[in-house]
Assembly symmetry: C2
Amino acid sequence: MALSSRARAFSVEALVGRPSKRKFQDPIQEEQPELQEKKGGEEEEERRSCAAGKSEPLEKQLKTESSTTASPGCGSDSGDGNSSESLEEKDIQMELQGSELWKRFHDIGTEMIITKAGRRMFPSVRVKVKGLDPGKQYYVAIDVVPVDSKRYRYVYHSSQWMVAGNTDHLCIIPRFYVHPDSPCSGETWMRQIISFDHMKLTNNEMDDKGHIILQSMHKYKPRVHVIEQDSSVDLSQLQSLPTEGVKTFSFKETEFTTVTAYQNQQITKLKIERNPFAKGFRDTGRNRGVLDGLLETYPWRPSFTLDFKTFGADTQSGSSGSSPVTSSGGAPSPLNLLSPPCFSPMFHLPTSSLGMPCPEAYLHNVNLPLCCKICPTNFWQQQPLVLPAPERLASSNSSQSLAPLMMEVPMLSSLGVTNSKSGSSEDSGDQYLQAPDSTSQMLYGLQAPGNILLPNSITQEALSCSFHPSYGFYRYNFTMPSRLINGPNHLKVNDDSQVSFREGKCNHVHWYPAINHYL
Amino acid sequence: MALSSRARAFSVEALVGRPSKRKFQDPIQEEQPELQEKKGGEEEEERRSCAAGKSEPLEKQLKTESSTTASPGCGSDSGDGNSSESLEEKDIQMELQGSELWKRFHDIGTEMIITKAGRRMFPSVRVKVKGLDPGKQYYVAIDVVPVDSKRYRYVYHSSQWMVAGNTDHLCIIPRFYVHPDSPCSGETWMRQIISFDHMKLTNNEMDDKGHIILQSMHKYKPRVHVIEQDSSVDLSQLQSLPTEGVKTFSFKETEFTTVTAYQNQQITKLKIERNPFAKGFRDTGRNRGVLDGLLETYPWRPSFTLDFKTFGADTQSGSSGSSPVTSSGGAPSPLNLLSPPCFSPMFHLPTSSLGMPCPEAYLHNVNLPLCCKICPTNFWQQQPLVLPAPERLASSNSSQSLAPLMMEVPMLSSLGVTNSKSGSSEDSGDQYLQAPDSTSQMLYGLQAPGNILLPNSITQEALSCSFHPSYGFYRYNFTMPSRLINGPNHLKVNDDSQVSFREGKCNHVHWYPAINHYL
DNA sequence: ACCTTTTCACCTAGGTGTGAATCT
DNA sequence: AGATTCACACCTAGGTGAAAAGGT
């Protein structure tokens, strides 16, 4: 394997001489290595029940606990009149898949390359979720939030990441990547591994492809959100517009540092070893270099013959069969995140309303403040950070570029900021945007409609960010047909019974309202 | 190029000696060659205004014509209270893209390979649509319907397709392929080429991947449907549940014969010449065979140097820049389709409710007859043709297989068949399922809700098909990010203004109802 | 005979890290 | 000097028709 010259020049001795942070006695114990040693308190929070909502407002909490009708596996009884149950929530649990691989990276110090064109994550975030209402509709989305406000640099001779100063986080619209299966029933979500393979990270602040925009040399952490979409359950009572909830999960081992080129060659080596797309750089016997044996001798890898299976085979695709649930249980919002200035949310919706200078229909949907409803077009056009250029929108061609369903709509922060109906961004919104600077898992419920995924604590500094950018919800549609539908079907009819079956008729459809790609 | 031995053995002389059905004077005239010569009456219908709805019920027709607020380009004014406009319709027009290429194939006699695993179409169906309400939400879907009830065989010595008897159409659930961008605003639909590249055809009656199931050696024709989804426009009035419409378009030149191996080597050659994935079989100078010059001398190809540009470059991706709109105007339902027994519709929805033995919520949505609402679980379980096996469903793993959003729900024919609330499939539904055997573009409107995409005329014989299978609506999610979102955004904030931005908060979301993947 | 299935070489399309070049 | 970009070789993943094999 050929490591980068830089890495080779600076990191060899450190690599060899660096004492291992941890050692595994056997694969069993390895399953939650960092939980055993590192940052006990914080890890403890992550390890215990990952049910979200335990710090939610009492009202919601009670509803969550009182829900008994929607246990996984009984998905056939969500019928009439259960819109009154739409507020119910259960203890949603999330388990990280491939956590062993994640932990291997984490122990080294995970690095994720970000490029202008967008780079996938490896490993990618894959989770399993439990405790959803099988009959309820949910969105599942992911975002990537800063772990702190520090800029880092990698010190080669010590193979360590050092703080290189405070960061000046860009006033970029943080974006969400909405899982392409969204919205989907709880039953379906729970039945499958929810994978974010196709999400891409970029350092291009001008990115127009919906990738997650990050800054290089910073530490980030992915968060997975499970968002209810109640009204779809009983569409005959849509006028009730029930308040719904969001559960957020994150996993310590998925923390990573963004880079434009790998700094730690151990990371490079592990990526090459595990990422199928980097197979071309693997040692095939012919081009083994002097450093090739380093990873094998590194202590986080047990000396088993079946190591790879333990870690999910060659790829990360294994659903961590050897991993107990506790090893990667997600903790709702356990992160300590400093709020970078202007890290405020923006809401991207599917293409549906893209190109509409003011999709007022959606403004309605999110219950925008009056100022927005009155002058919706201006509202958008005044937000260069949010509004895509019409030309660019026009160039969106799904047939050529496989454009996804995306669109954007002001949500959260825009709503909060302008919620006073004054249109001013300075004199309002604090009640939603400003939260106590605490590490508790408390979730503050917003009784007022129209507030979505209000992220963490955001101060006046954040609010002063012009245009109060909101979270960018992107919806990628990469999924392919699943194995469903259509059991055995060999019935044939004698063609003597021919019937007229002419085209040319167009029938009216009665479309019942449901939930759109509003995430 | 190496043609199949069979084709070589049987078709050479026919290929060379066959008189061209048509000759082009120049590329300009070539743009609608078959419209000039072939089947004048039927083609004429296709060429004239492809506005759908002109034969619709008066009520709907009037509404269509009275709509003036939603002209393409003004997409920002669909706001409050426009649910009353949701019934409005305009003259929707559809234009086939790449029609020149389609016509080249059509002149030869288009063949489409179908395989067990599923095969893409080449050319694929790509359309442009006009006349939509920019602010309205639409689904766009495609299905493939039989042209007749005949089985064909290819006679090599005459290079012709001959009727080989009447067909015994399988009692297979006809399926729809819903464009992955669905639902989407009319403005967005109109701005882009709507492509169905990823749709696949299969001859596997047991297909569980959502592909379009066809029978080999039969003639089919794709149809593109534009389906309104009104209630999304004004979600504050969802209780109104307005009736909505479907516009169906088809293009004569997209007719094709299904094969498991190409019969006519001219087709083979043209496919190789134009399909990028078959580039490996193109003549690179080294392996030119004796037949390689045949296509070049064939008359549908003008002897221009820029021929390929005329036909949309090497691939079919060109949006027929040289093609006038009239050349491929879609005619709503101009086909003469005999109804194969059991060719009745089934409705597949996104994965959302898959695995729910009875997604009663959706039964509600489609306003199923009482018998279904009362015993929904049995309703599904009694339909082996429709209900996917739970095991298969469970194996659906979007992270591994990139499973799409799919689910199924009884719609159209199921509704029609059981619409008498008696549960009997014999004594009802004719008013919806039986249509005059005519080639007119008449669209019959269904005042009763819950009838979607009622296909063509279906007689009692069709209704007698057990389980009254319904159309299979599949939703593939292949799309990628389009170029949108996020204008210049370089605002930075002094990091002195650090604020707490901790994770651990979970905010409540007020989800307003919208439209789901109900197609 | 005729049709279908399977395997294969050869493509497209795009995800890897490399290493040189470039930027700041 | 550190960070970023770019062209590149080398992969994965999957869409082609050819040709042989299999089925009826």
